[in-house]
Amino acid sequence: MSAHSATILMVEDDPEISRLVADFMRREGFEVACVADGKAMDTMLQRVRPDLVILDLMLPGEDGLSICRRLRADDSLPILMLTAKSDEIDRVVGLEMGADDYLTKPFGPRELLARVRAILRRANGAPAKPLVRRFAFDRFVIDLDARSVETVESETAALQLTSAEFDLLGCFVQRPRRVLTRDQILDWTRGRSAEPFDRTVDMLISRLRKKLDAASPGSGLITTVRNGGYLFTATVKQVS
């Protein structure tokens, strides 16, 4: 399929921006459908199968991140996120949530067109490359899907972690070298862990620290920072 006949679904709550983008993209030869929120998007998706979704981060009702996560869980629909904030955090989070690219408001139409074409090209070239979630740090390799931690040298299990400890380590590995507050850690781990995991972050971290230190002495991977934050100091690389 050629990019010029591609269908774009625009999820954006500001009607003017929707209209302006739609006008422009139509002139460039795209089919464009516009909806204002997540609910309308769901209805639309039952009738239309778009080639790409342009998704605003700040939406009334269900926010862009949550929609993005939901879409990504179902299929490999390419997503371009529009963010109002220029923070890199949003980029990290957005890409982790499965967005293919992002664009900061205000954006020029040509910029948008370039991104859209790039995403469509990638989507056509390599159909749905499975997202690998294997990361190397210090002397370990963690596989978030297989839920295993191995050492770089041998592919034997290096750490015996409980489910909650694994989630915690996963949380750190995906946000390395950043100070995480207790509340943030709680927010990011609670959703995925079946175990009760409330005010025990400190205890859990001290247990994880001990296990990491035992397996890699003197590495000091988790540092405590002023005001009760934690910092994973290792550099993390994605591996295949």
Partner: protein, 449 residues
């Protein structure tokens, strides 16, 4: 100035009060008992009568009188006179002797200290205190010598300690306990001060420790601080919400505008309109970042500063701008804990300032005293010494015209200062060797423990 803790002050107040009370009580005591002290010393008249009585008697009768008047405090005996009474008296008793001599109707009298006993030799001061002894030697007209040992014994307890020693000891212990209690009572105040210092309004403030067993006043202070903290956090949240809301809406309008601008047919006009929108958003970003820095809302991550600087420099070189970069060997791998976006904004603002007003930027990174110093020099006219501090204030510009063509809104350096200070760093404006402006940004180096 000497710092005296509240506990010490209270203790001092107590001690001074106690001392004053004791002094007054002692003064009153001595004023009222000084007569009694005199009375414990036999009066001259009494000695005169005793002497006269004894002179008239002899033998058994004399002994009976002696037995009758003697007591441990007033021991009377008669010694057959061996040597005549010399009348010699130690100088300090001279006045006393004259008083007695006048009352004894011409009988010779000597006043001496009693013979030493062992205790007096070992503890002369204590012995004198305890005995307060005095010996009268009076020559009787019958030729005998009347010797009277008068004691004013210090009363002692059954343990042999002076009366009041126990009371003093008890008082000291009570005072010590009181001091400890006071320390304990004032400790919540010190804890409160420490807790208030730790208050970080960016997160949900934890309530200050409630000292449940403290004085009501201290608990009231703690409760008041808690309420103040809550109100401040509420205000800060409201402000952040407001700023965030404005930023979002302005961005929405700017996005519409940016899309509409595409319809301007004239290329040059369109470029200028796009640049205006970019400036506007940059100003908004600066204000937002600055507000977040003030509210402690910046993120903290380990940032390789040299690499970050290299990217900023590279971006400008690609645009054909003259930017030099020198990085000291030791500063090459330095890590700063901070907000990547904010750090980039610090560098970008200073470098762009240098390019806008000083034709070129020369960036140098070095380590100094455990901090990393980024110096950005330009080749402009420099900033006069008296203006170096004021250019760091918001909306201050060297030209007063506020002409947007020659510069920004004047927020740049103020934002840089805010952001640098939010990272525990400083910004300083100096002179570059070539006469231009030098801006030094100092940031603490992160060292994981």
């Amino acid at each position: 100035m000497l710092r005296v803790t509240l506990a010490a002050r209270l203790a001092l107040i107590g001690l001074i009060g106690f001392t004053v009370v004791v002094t007054v009580v002692l003064a009153i005591f001595y004023r009222t008992t000084v007569h009694e002290n005199e009375l414990t010393r036999p009066s001259p008249a009494r000695l005169d009568v005793l002497a006269t009585l004894l002179e008239r008697m002899s033998g058994d009768a004399r002994q009976a009188v002696l037995d009758a008047v003697s007591s441990p405090q007033f021991m009377v005996r008669i010694v057959p006179s061996a040597a005549p009474v010399s009348g010699e008296t130690p100088s300090q008793q001279q006045q006393l002797r004259e008083t007695y001599a006048a009352g004894l109707a011409g009988r010779p009298i000597e006043i001496v200290s009693p013979p030493d006993h062992r205790a007096a030799r070992l503890f002369p001061r204590l012995a004198r205190l305890m005995a307060n002894a005095i010996e009268f030697r009076i020559g009787l007209r019958s030729g005998d010598l009347l010797v009277i040992d008068a004691y004013t014994r210090l009363p002692v307890t059954q343990l042999g300690l002076p009366v009041g020693f126990g009371a003093g000891l008890f008082g000291s212990i009570v005072a010590l306990l009181a001091l400890l209690v006071m320390q304990r009572e004032t400790r919540p105040l010190a804890q409160l001060a420490a807790a208030v210092d730790r208050v970080d309004l960016s997160t949900d403030p934890p309530p200050l420790p409630d000292a449940r067993r403290s004085a009501p006043e201290i608990r009231a202070v703690i409760a008041a601080f808690n309420r103040l903290q809550g109100r401040l956090a509420e205000m800060l949240r409201a402000r952040m919400t407001l700023v965030g809301g404005i930023a979002h809406d302005v961005r929405t309008f700017a996005t519409r505008l940016r899309l509409r601008v595409e319809h301007i047919p004239d290329d040059a006009e369109r470029q200028r309109a796009v640049a205006d929108i970019d400036d506007m958003i940059r100003l908004l970003d600066d204000a937002l970042l600055s507000a977040r820095a003030g509210a402690g809302g910046l993120s903290q991550e380990m940032v390789e500063l040299a690499a970050l600087i290299a990217v900023e420099v590279h971006d400008r070189r690609v645009q054909g701008k003259p930017v030099g970069l020198v990085t000291d060997e030791r500063a090459r791998n330095v890590v700063v804990l901070g907000d990547r976006l904010a750090l980039r904004r610090i560098l970008a603002n200073i470098i762009d300032n240098a390019l806008a007003y000083g034709h070129a930027a020369h960036v140098r990174t070095a380590l100094k005293d455990g901090a990393v110093v980024v110096s950005i020099d330009d080749e402009g006219a420099g900033i006069p010494v008296d203006q170096r501090q004021t250019v760091l204030e918001p909306f201050h510009r060297l030209e007063k015209s506020r002409n947007r063509a020659t510069g920004g809104a004047g927020l740049g350096l103020a934002v840089v200062r805010n952001l640098a200070e939010a990272h525990g760093g400083t910004i300083e404006i100096a002179a570059a060797p070539g006469g231009g402006t030098r801006v030094n940004v100092t940031l603490p180096v992160f060292q994981p423990v």
